[in-house]
């Protein structure tokens, strides 16, 4: 399995402020996908954003954006204008790009708390 590392177990941010979550991964693959998933308290895991490794442009989804540094094997998530509903555990995940490879490798997660 690929190794995905999230070095920040917990982060706290004031409402309307910006927070950045870090993620690094270890792979010898050149083509792959990276994801951030969000797991709100007692609710289902949902996709926040995804990035194809062959694309140089960083993905954005509304207030969520990534900083993808392929050479450094780094994939950070920035949450802008944080809202109370952003309180959740966030997981970084890696998927190889192969015809029969649909398995995700996850990091340990970062718990984000947005303070009012």
């Amino acid at each position: 399995a690929q190794t995905v590392t999230q070095s920040q177990p917990e982060m706290s941010v004031q409402e309307a402020e910006t927070v950045t979550l870090s993620c690094t991964y270890d792979t010898s693959e050149s083509n792959y996908y990276l994801f951030w998933y969000k797991q709100p308290p007692s609710r289902q895991m949902i996709l926040v954003i995804r990035q194809e490794a062959y694309k140089q442009q960083n993905a954005t989804e509304n207030r969520f954006s990534v900083n993808f540094q392929k050479a450094a094997k780094s994939f950070s998530l920035k949450i802008s204008d944080s809202q109370l509903g952003d309180t959740a555990m966030y997981f970084c995940a890696f998927m190889k790009q192969g015809r029969w490879d649909y398995k995700l490798s996850f990091g340990a997660g970062t718990t984000v708390t947005v303070r009012a």
């Binding site: 177990p9 289902q44 649909y102 398995k103």
Partner: protein, 117 residues
């Protein structure tokens, strides 16, 4: 709305019991997965299935088995539950198709929290 439904949200079992965790999806997805979630370890893949009656071992299959007799249903079985299998179990599904078309996005169930005493 697309859904993955896990039959039990909370279970408490005794050591040595046989445990069944059921998962049903209504999206006609080919791929189905069972993950285990533990604090500090993230999600770890137990088993994966890309078709009826097909299964592949994930990273931590020991102590578990799976069954997929119908496309929409994927069951996780603990033949003899042990205390170290106390955990949150997440089922997920995805399309089998061209990667990049949405086939690589997982839809998750709400999870089944299992406690083995």
């Amino acid at each position: 709305d697309v859904k993955v439904t896990q039959s039990s949200r909370y279970l408490v079992k005794r050591t040595g019991e046989k445990v069944f965790l059921e998962c049903v999806q209504d999206m006609d997805h080919e791929n189905m997965f069972w993950y285990r979630q533990d604090p500090g370890l993230g999600l770890r893949l137990i088993y994966f299935s890309y078709d009826v009656k097909m299964k592949e071992k994930g990273d931590i299959p020991e102590g578990y088995s799976v069954s997929r007799e119908k496309k929409e249903r994927f069951s996780l079985i603990l033949e003899s539950a042990s205390t170290n299998q106390t955990s949150m179990y997440l089922c997920a599904s995805s399309l089998l198709g061209l990667l990049g078309s949405g086939a690589n996005v997982l839809t998750f169930g709400a999870g089944s929290r299992l406690t083995v005493l």
